[in-house]
Assembly symmetry: C2
């Protein structure tokens, strides 16, 4: 395993927010959380691994759905308390079947859904059906 | 003031992470935090206002530096616990004088600075000198 960017600032839960951005299109795909172990695994394998707060463990993106993310570059911000993952997204990023998780917008004082699913969630997660 | 997206999920400190993305270039500029009041102000004024965790108060982006962000669209993700602000960035987003706060990358097992300041911080903050 390679060296580690030791200056990254994890919060009191040991987590740091990580933005995933599509390397090809620049689209912001999702925001999730990483702990030290998931950052180390992501750097070592080149496959993005988050920390699931709901499950309380490592979340190897795409493990169930097949919609993996290959790491192109890991970046961090001026305060080292946020990560930007430039990724190659295999398939869609969102569990709803949409490319990006940010498919809701505030338009004219109301919520608007601005992207439709490209694949049905039940197909994404058929292994679990 | 317009209605408010009441379903946004704020954490135990009353905050939600917000990504700012350049509307023209797609560049991810920064990640900061918002509270309910800063979201409401941003929607009402069209000028991005964050919550400064270090100062413990509203942070009207560009108030000191002049490097304001005009809101093009506010989006949120599938869990409604993260915000994406599509913005017109006036000048640079980072207090170091760089366009984006994400100017550090992990390359070949070491840190690399991948963007240089476009303006000197002492010029950005001359009002405070």
């Amino acid at each position: 395993m390679s060296a580690f960017p030791d200056w990254l600032v994890f919060n009191e839960q040991g987590l740091i927010p990580a933005i995933a951005q599509d390397a090809a299109t620049g689209e912001v795909l999702m925001l999730a959380w990483m702990n030290r172990e998931s950052v180390a695994e992501t750097l070592a394998t080149g496959r993005v691994c988050y920390y699931s707060r709901s499950r309380g463990g490592l979340w190897r993106k795409g493990e169930t759905s097949g919609q993996t993310q290959r790491l192109v570059e890991l970046r961090w911000d001026c305060d080292a308390d946020a990560i930007l993952l430039v990724v190659e997204q295999h398939g869609v990023a969102c569990h709803t079947g949409r490319r990006s998780c940010f498919f809701n917008a505030w338009r004219d004082g109301a919520a608007a859904v601005i992207a439709e699913p490209e694949v049905a969630p039940k197909i994404l997660y058929k292994a679990r059906d």
